[in-house]
């Protein structure tokens, strides 16, 4: 894959990113930030790609830490987003209790 192909992919991906997040209600800003945060956990793939190149001990340590960091980013990111969103799930609407007239003080 040559550099120009990579840059073409980069530019197209940028537009996809811009388009996807066009209209978002305020309420979803935080979960969305958390969700995109989890997606850049893709750096884990980057760390895995270079592990086999490590020859010195220092490089190995660096990459184990990088893999661990990437894993924290992925797992933590998706779990926290899921927890946040589970708060928004439609719960079965409780039957609206009407206050009995005699209890209402005027």
């Amino acid at each position: 894959m040559d550099l120009l192909t990579e840059i073409a992919i980069l530019v197209l991906a940028a537009f996809v990113g811009f388009e996807v997040i066009s209209k978002v209600p305020n309420t979803l800003h935080t979960p969305l930030m958390s969700g995109t945060n989890a997606i850049h956990g893709i750096v884990l793939v980057g760390a895995l790609l270079v592990v086999s190149q490590a020859s010195s001990t220092l490089s190995k340590v660096l990459l184990v830490v990088a893999v661990a960091f990437g894993t924290i980013n992925v797992i933590g990111g998706f779990l926290v987003t899921d927890r946040m969103l589970s708060m928004f799930k439609r719960k079965p609407e409780p039957v609206k209790e009407e206050a009995p007239a005699d209890e209402v003080e005027s």
Binding site: L28, T30, V43, S59, V67, A68, G70, G77, M87, A99
Partner: protein, 486 residues
């Protein structure tokens, strides 16, 4: 020479899986923008991530830039290193995500973002080490993105850690500034870019590379430290976009499509999101960052001396209960104080009791109440407050003139009339909940301390306002009990 002996380890097959993975990211992200599809969207993206990681582990021998690289797992030592990293990451990631309180979620997001940036910085460092070991600087199309990833990754890691420290209140939320901050920051930026340029122009030195990482790390620290706590959500979102960009850069260096696409999508959408958040606070991203560089407008705190010596009116739970019980419309304005005190369930209970008395109750949610946009919605949803009772700022502001009592629970800056009235206030221009248009205002507060932005609030000295001091949860509980006994 055959590059791959087994079809499912061939680069073509792996690339096909990568395409599937980033398609799922895009579909998932689209889901995350709508309230009904968000949960599924997050899961779809997670499936994409699993596919991308598994595909990478399968990847066999391949050629990159004319160099034949070994399979990802080419021996037991690779297996051990990867398993070790995955296990450590899982052991830290799962408990911290599952156990964190809903109130601490913003700083958790900052931390998860930071480690992502840190991973990028480490990857580029080890890439560079590998290049030096195998014959010197790589060609520029690898070297430049590697250097870029190192700078941005390091800034993002350290900046996020400072943001975490501020939100966790390990560090003071108020802006911290050093004398001559602009010059120090500028110098650090020049040093890190300068080292990068030296390497790119042919110098081969690991020391220079470490110089990049260290100066970028200091820069990340010093840029975020002076930014006031109120701006922190925007900063985290911006650093999130940065980490995405650094991942995309690492993707170019490693010739990996899924890294490029996923990183760039996060970089782009993160930038848009940062801007949306800044607009919701009537701040501009450049002015927030300028705050970080010691210029622009930042919330410096203090200032409003004209409030000194004015007295506030404190009240009792019983009085508040009477006010509330005989009101027709009550608007509750929650803020970070409610989150800290974990008062959302008590608030829900109060709402239920008041509704039992025939009082109409609404919630006025400021877009940046709490520490992040949507923070209050999450907490109130957790306490089963129906979604349709939560009103956004633009919907609730016209309602205040016909509101009898506004109950402000641990919110401060988002109700500060100084944002409308006094042009010299650091938060001037931020849209606020215009609670002073209501018949009466009751503020539940821990103490007379200023808000997170460190600015005094003239609302508290308004003659319509009375204050009830104490822990929000206890105060709300007392009010509820008093309302019930009426």
């Amino acid at each position: 020479m055959t590059l791959a002996t087994v079809w499912f380890r061939s680069p073509d097959f792996i690339n096909a899986l990568y395409i599937l993975a980033f398609t799922l990211f895009i579909v998932g992200l689209r889901g995350l923008t709508g309230p009904n599809t968000a949960v599924r969207g997050n899961k779809i993206a997670a499936v994409g991530m699993v596919i991308a990681v598994v595909a990478t582990l399968l990847l066999g021998e391949r050629q990159v830039h004319g160099e034949t690289l070994p399979a990802i797992i080419s021996g037991w030592s690779d297996v051990w290193l990867i398993v070790l990293g995955l296990v450590i990451g899982t052991a830290i990631g799962i408990p911290s995500a599952v156990k964190v309180k809903m109130t601490a979620i913003p700083q958790m997001v900052a931390l998860f973002n930071g480690v992502g940036g840190g991973a990028v910085a480490l990857i580029s460092w080890s890439e560079y080490r590998h290049a030096l070991e195998s014959g010197g600087n790589p060609e520029l199309q690898i070297l430049i993105p590697t250097l870029f990833a190192a700078i941005i990754g390091s800034v993002s890691f350290w900046g996020s850690n400072i943001a975490f420290g501020k939100l966790q209140e390990i560090l003071p939320g108020r802006p911290i500034q050093l004398p001559g901050q602009q010059f120090i920051n500028l110098a650090l930026l020049i040093i890190s870019v300068g080292c990068a340029v030296l390497i790119a122009t042919g110098r081969e030195s690991e020391a220079l590379f470490i110089g990049i990482l260290v100066s970028a790390a200091l820069l990340g620290n010093l840029v975020v430290l002076p930014i006031g706590g109120a701006d922190m959500p925007v900063v985290i979102s911006l650093l999130n976009a940065f980490t995405g960009l650094s991942a995309a850069a690492a993707g170019i260096a490693l010739q990996n499509t899924v890294l490029i696409v996923a990183g760039m999508i996060v970089g782009a959408s993160g930038t848009i999101l940062t801007n949306l958040m800044a607009v919701a606070m009537n701040r501009s991203v450049p002015s927030i960052i300028a705050g970080g560089f010691g210029g622009g407008t930042i919330a410096t705190g203090g200032g409003d001396d004209d409030n000194e010596g004015k007295s506030v009116r404190s009240t009792s739970a019983q009085d508040v209960a009477i006010q509330l019980a005989f009101a027709r419309l009550v608007v509750i304005v929650p803020g970070y104080g409610m989150a800290v005190a974990q008062a959302q369930h008590a608030v829900k209970e109060l709402t239920r009791v008041l509704e039992g008395k025939g009082v109409e109750v609404r919630f006025g949610i400021h877009p940046v109440a709490g520490r992040m946009p949507g923070h209050m919605n999450v907490l109130l949803a957790e306490a089963d407050v129906p979604y349709d009772q939560l009103k956004e700022m633009d919907d609730i502001n016209p309602e205040f003139p016909r509101t009898d009592v506004v109950l402000v629970i641990g919110a401060n800056d988002v109700t500060n009339p100084a944002a409308k009235d006094s042009p010299e206030s650091p938060i001037y221009g931020m849209p606020i909940l215009e609670v002073s248009n209501a018949g009466a205002v009751v503020v539940l507060k821990r103490s007379m301390g200023a808000g997170f932005a460190g600015i005094d609030n003239p609302l508290f000295y308004d003659e319509k306002t009375s204050l009830l001091f104490g822990d929000a949860k206890e105060s709300v509980g007392e009010i509820t009990a008093e309302v019930q006994s009426l």
